[in-house]
């Protein structure tokens, strides 16, 4: 396992997350994809920390983790609100900002 390989793995997981972000219609599914992307980023941080030395990478991953958890909480609250307002969790139900 080399650093480059780890970063490539992280990049691959990130891309999968992007695919889900752009494709899925259910709001919770989109949150899942965002989770994937954050997770991939954390992985790359840890990989750098391991292969290059220093604790900074893991520290950043720690912070990112905590922040992501908070973000998920708020995000799910928003999903609940979305469901309550539109009766539907599909993201294309909320099109009020259509120009």
């Amino acid at each position: 396992m080399t650093l480059s390989t780890s970063i490539l793995l992280a990049a691959a997981m990130f891309s999968v997350g992007v695919y889900g972000l752009l494709t899925r219609r259910h709001a919770v599914a989109i949150l899942l994809s965002v989770e994937l992307m954050a997770n991939a980023a954390n992985l790359s941080f840890v990989a750098f920390s391991h292969f290059r030395g220093g604790a900074t990478g893991q520290l950043f991953a720690l912070f990112a983790l905590a922040i992501t958890v908070a973000e998920v909480a708020v995000g799910l609250a928003l999903v609940l609100l979305l469901y309550r307002t539109y009766g539907d969790t599909r993201t294309d139900a909320a099109k009020e900002l259509r120009g």
């Binding site: 992007v18 972000l21 752009l22 219609r25 989109i30 993201t91 294309d92 909320a94 099109k95 009020e96 900002l97 259509r98 120009g99």
Partner: protein
Amino acid sequence: MSLPVGALPLEAAPIPAFVALFAPAVAALVLAAAPALRRRGAPASWVTLTASLLATAAAVTLLVTQLREGGSHVWMASWLQINGAGVGDFGVRLDGVSATMLLVVCVVATCVQVFSLGYMHDEKPPAFGRYFAYHALFLFSMNLLVLAPDLLQLFAGWELVGATSYLLIGFYYQKPSAGQAALKAFWITKLADMGFLMALMVLYKTTGTFRWDAAVTAATATTVSGLLFFAVVGKSAQFPLHIWLPDAMEGPTPVSALLHAATMVAAGVFLIVRANPLFAHAPATRDVMLLVGSGTALFAACLALVQTDIKKVLAYSTCSQLGYMVAALGAGSVFGGFFHLATHAFFKALLFLAAGSVIHAVHSNELADMGGLRRRMPVTATTFIIGAMSLAGIPGLAGFFSKDLVLASVEGRYGWVPFGALMATAFLTAFYMGRVVFLAFFGEARGHAGHAHESGGSLLVPLLVLTVPSVALGWVAAPLAHLSGATYELHLVGVVPILAASLGLGGFALAWVVYGRGTLVVSALAPLERLVATRAVNRVYEVGYRRVLLVVADVLGWIDRYLIDGLMNFLGWSAVAGGRALRRVQTGNAQDYVFAVVLGAIALAAWGLLP
């Protein structure tokens, strides 16, 4: 302020010159600025008449001074300076020619205005006032032209008299024919004025001034004089730009007398006399003038033979006599042209005013409605006949002397063709004037003529006044010539004068034979009548000038509507369309916005990858 060589400052100019110039201007301004005064009618006429009398008195004074002292003086003030040199000058030039012309103009104008007091009496006061306001403006414009020290001021006066002519021809604006005639006069003379404008440009380009006595090369002289002559062809109604003059008879008869007989149309001839230094160096232009002038004289005289409207006869006659003047100038006799101008001004104005008296009495312009008027309108008849004889060149009257001078100057030129034309014209002139005299004043009264009565004092006095120079001016030719810097010899005996006199008398005699017994129509002249009816020259302008102008106007209108406006409309449309297109980006779907963000991120990353 630098004055040209030999010019004196304007402030030093003699008072009469200012009076002559500005009295009518003040009158015009007062009448323009005080509509209440103008619309009262009679007060306006007093204002104009006062100004004209003042101007006439000033003109007399100036002429007397000129006779005493002689020489030429210029007083100028620069109103336009380029590179420190005065280019546009306003001022007064006094010499024999301008002093004489000034007097002629002022006398005729005053007579016409007095005549108008009676003739236009039946007009409503607002129209009456408007008429006299225009007269004041005209007199100012004509004086501006006559006293001009350079071609620029002359051009200003030229255009102004053209504008005044338009206003006065179209005086009866409720009549569509009057409006059309005014417009036609304006457009034809405007075409000719382009020549004047171009002449000014060429003159300035080559000499840097607008004075006609600047030193020029032969080529420049030919160009400038040629262009100036083109303007003269329009203003003085020479062929082929003569078509506006008969139509101009739509205006009131006094106007026809003043503008379209004596003064305005003579301005073209006056211009050539003035700019003689240029024309003297341009033999080519002068040859053209000779041919055009003599041709026009004959052509117009033929057309006058078949007119039934008395004013139209006189109009074509004016055209023909102007041809005489132009021919004389073309032949090189400056004084010949100028002298004929002066005599013609008087007797033609007399003829028109007398015709006006007749028209006023019988309420018609047509010869068919006249007849036997010498019994009922003796003064009018006598003065008219005197004027007609002067025009025909009957010996002893003024016209005889001036015509003789013209004929003498064209002797031998171009194989005697112009001479022959002018001689034939002399015969025809006497013939058609005789026709008018016998049809209108002799024979049996037709129609209204049976109830006609002599006109009032204000109509008769000018007739009497104008008769005097029509008779006597010929005898003062010598001092007149001396004033103009020419020499004059009187020859009463010789081939030319005898031939001319006999042609004049013969024409009258033939007219008596043909028309004296009252026959109106002569079958021999029928082809000529048909020719006139075709309005051939008018048709040429209809197609070549008016239609072309309309096409150009249409094209320009199209460009304005579709290209210029189109551009603006397009800008507006594109803004709206662009907005509408961009609006489609805002789908409202959050995932589409995320997609855009991701694309942006990819783009940034890719840009970072670039070497």
